[in-house]
Symmetry: C2
Subunit: 442 residues, 2 copies
């Protein structure tokens, strides 16, 4: 009754690895250490043809020195079955990937910046040369996420993607919340621990998350989305007071990558919105308990309903796990003569500006302590077509405060309302404003 | 710069659907309603050739009556590109699937019972006839889980799978915990709401979860596992007192499907253990917050680390989402001339009996209130090589109680310890015993 396992052929699947950093070295080590497992899973042995590095003199434990080369473009175009691009950066990486595809190689890459800037030219070359393009490691590290989006959900209609896709900012926000520590203090600590870079801009200002949001949106909505179309706001202005105010209302603050279908009253697609910003999430939402450097992506699809994918978003080993899954997939396709899923961009939905995104605001105001203030403020919301869901008045005299949460409205109407509030005599200061995501209903 | 989308060919991919129940009807409706989307995603239009049902006279809204047939085996063997098996049961379903494969059809099935009983003959036939076998919907409904295990983690080494894979029991346990309601009352309510069957045995005794555990273990460990090798204990004996005791210690009770690599001190594989039983899970574990009828599967892999997949485990629409993802995958393979991943059973690890599983116990004892009781009891644990992690003494006189949690030991040693405790004069009653899962460390 034992099934005939697919036989393992003698002819190897050849692999060229571009980049010998943490992930590249781990990929090479795993392929070497688990060669019998890989051969059985693929149906052919995997053989590393070369590892291209910048500095050939650095010691690289576990990598045969004979494999090392500094001729990256030469190795890329050498015609290996699979080229694994782990160099990062845009221009040189693109040149190498295009050379690889032109030479008939399938490509596995973790390069989110390149995919988010110019995925089109990679897909186009893959199609032209009949090769595979896999990039699971480019978003949310080890979490199997892109394959589910490209394949498992290929028969469904994705409505919303809400992702915690940057570990550094999630670590900072978690620590602020758990320990009541200031943003600047936690950032310094994260830098000391190696969780944040010396220049943390790409993480804390949301640029890293924006590239991932573009990749997720493109796959979810079958629509071309590039990083420059993603509106982006980071966490550097989030204060401990914001975190405390959120907690009092039963929310936590997360930096979210949000990609949504924008649907009109008749249920037709108006377009998609893609944005990165800090947001208040209800404590009982599955994303709220995603702490420290973990990543998670919450997806709502028409038939599947709510889904969440959770795991480690970075690190050499987790990223190598994702890369190796892609290597096995590309290798299996070589052995069977098949192809992985190609680009599936056909919907051409317009990418709408942030102002047209449907969202909800939390607003915290210092107000004058006199009769009629609430009426004046409520009128300002109403004038912009924004309806208030909850309002709480706190304190007296100089400490008088109003905390509100709105119903859903366009981000443009909400932002205009805040501008109008700033112009009111009754409002002494807009203490806090933040979007609210992940709540049921409107 | 726009990439050339793969062209949509005219020749359709033909599909035969066996089973016209909730899921089958939903699959047919979605393929019809979203035909343009499917054509773009696949590269060819999908055409339904027939829907086999038991009762041709029942009204089936949204399904063209011309497609209906009661000749299930005939439709199965008609040579459609893809046969979707949604009949359930074992013998007839197997006969139809084998007929379909013999006729050259790729097969998509949601049939967990058949896969867990005799996946080998399906894989074998798929291999023999060069067709695909996909079965994402067989475990955890809409959650993309089997594709990640078969493909995304194909380059990693899975260590542990902990799954909440039965919605009925998770609903019952969640309600007991949240509302302090009795098992019997919540079960009755679940039956009234349609969350539990009139005969709830398959769910509450863990048989449904055991079939899913076998499928997960087989994919995770590249080793043949059938349902009859899964040790299985249900939730019908779980009391409100157990739930309360767990809460006091910072745990929740979940019915878990557990599949683990059993590794010796040198790090070599001794085998795998696969079991279903209620377990105490720490409240801060990602599985603890999976409530009501939701499913989630937590996976630990060597390189990827901790992963979790969360979503709806049942229901017509969610299950249809998983089936349709598989249909698109099988259809893309037909168009590209490729093959999906085949069976990957090569490790042949022994499936070990429950006694050899490594686990930890929570034990709640009514004890005699006299000096030396703790020493006597501690000795009983020590005699079996079981070390105690935490012990708490409560009450006096007739109410004297001891609550313990052990360190990790073999299930056999732990079970023997409980037997020994039952024989001690100092122990008036073993009030509660439950395994503990999901805690860090040993």
């Amino acid at each position: 009754m034992s099934a005939p396992a697919r036989t393992v052929r003698d002819e190897p699947i050849t692999i060229a690895v571009l980049g010998g950093g943490t992930v590249g070295a781990e990929v090479v080590r795993q392929i070497t250490a688990q060669q019998d497992d890989f051969a059985s899973r693929v149906g052919a042995p995997l053989r590393i043809m070369g590892v291209a590095v910048r500095d050939a003199n650095r010691a690289r434990p576990g990598i045969d020195p004979e494999l090392i080369t500094t001729d990256t473009l030469g190795l890329a175009g050498s015609g290996a079955d699979i080229v694994v691009e782990l160099m990062g950066g845009i221009d040189t990486a693109r040149e190498c990937i295009l050379a690889a595809m032109a030479a008939g190689s399938s490509v596995v890459t973790a390069n989110k910046a390149l995919l988010a800037a110019d995925g089109a030219s990679l897909y186009s070359a893959a199609e032209e040369h009949g090769v595979d393009l896999y990039f699971e490691a480019s978003v949310a590290g080890a979490i199997p996420l892109l394959r589910p989006l490209r394949e498992s959900l290929a028969g469904d209609r994705v409505l919303t993607v809400l992702g915690i896709v940057n570990g550094t900012t999630n670590f900072i926000l978690s620590q602020m919340e758990e320990r009541g520590a200031d943003y600047a203090d936690v950032l310094r600590e994260a830098q000391e621990l190696g969780y944040a870079e010396a220049d943390p801009t790409a993480d804390v200002e949301g640029h890293d998350a924006a590239a991932k949001a573009a990749i997720l949106a493109e796959l979810a909505f079958h629509t071309r989305v590039t990083a420059d179309q993603v509106s982006c706001e980071g966490i550097s202005h989030v204060t401990l007071a914001d975190v405390e105010a959120a907690r009092q209302m039963g929310f936590v603050i997360k930096l979210l990558a949000v990609a949504e279908r924008n649907i009109d009253a008749e249920g037709n697609d108006r377009g998609v919105t893609v944005r990165v910003h800090p947001a208040m999430v209800p404590v009982d939402h599955p994303l709220a308990s995603v702490r420290d450097a973990f990543n998670a992506v919450f997806i709502v699809a028409e038939a599947a309903g709510e889904l969440m994918f959770y795991g480690r978003g970075a690190g050499g080993q987790p990223t190598a796990s994702a890369v190796l899954g892609d290597v096995v997939a590309a290798a299996r396709n070589r052995v069977s003569g098949g192809r992985g899923p190609g680009e599936s961009i056909y919907a051409e939905l317009p990418v709408l500006p942030l102002e047209q995104a449907m969202t909800r605001y939390y607003v915290n105001l210092d107000v004058a302590d006199r009769p009629g203030v609430l009426a004046t403020i409520a009128q300002a919301f109403s004038d912009h077509g924004v309806s208030i869901q909850v309002v709480r008045q706190d304190g007296h005299g100089d400490d008088a405060g109003l905390v509100l949460r709105t119903h859903q409205a366009t981000d443009g109407a909400l932002a205009d309302t805040i501008d109008a509030l700033r112009g009111l005599d009754a409002v002494k200061q807009v203490v806090g404003v933040m979007r609210v995501e992940g709540e049921a209903g409107s």
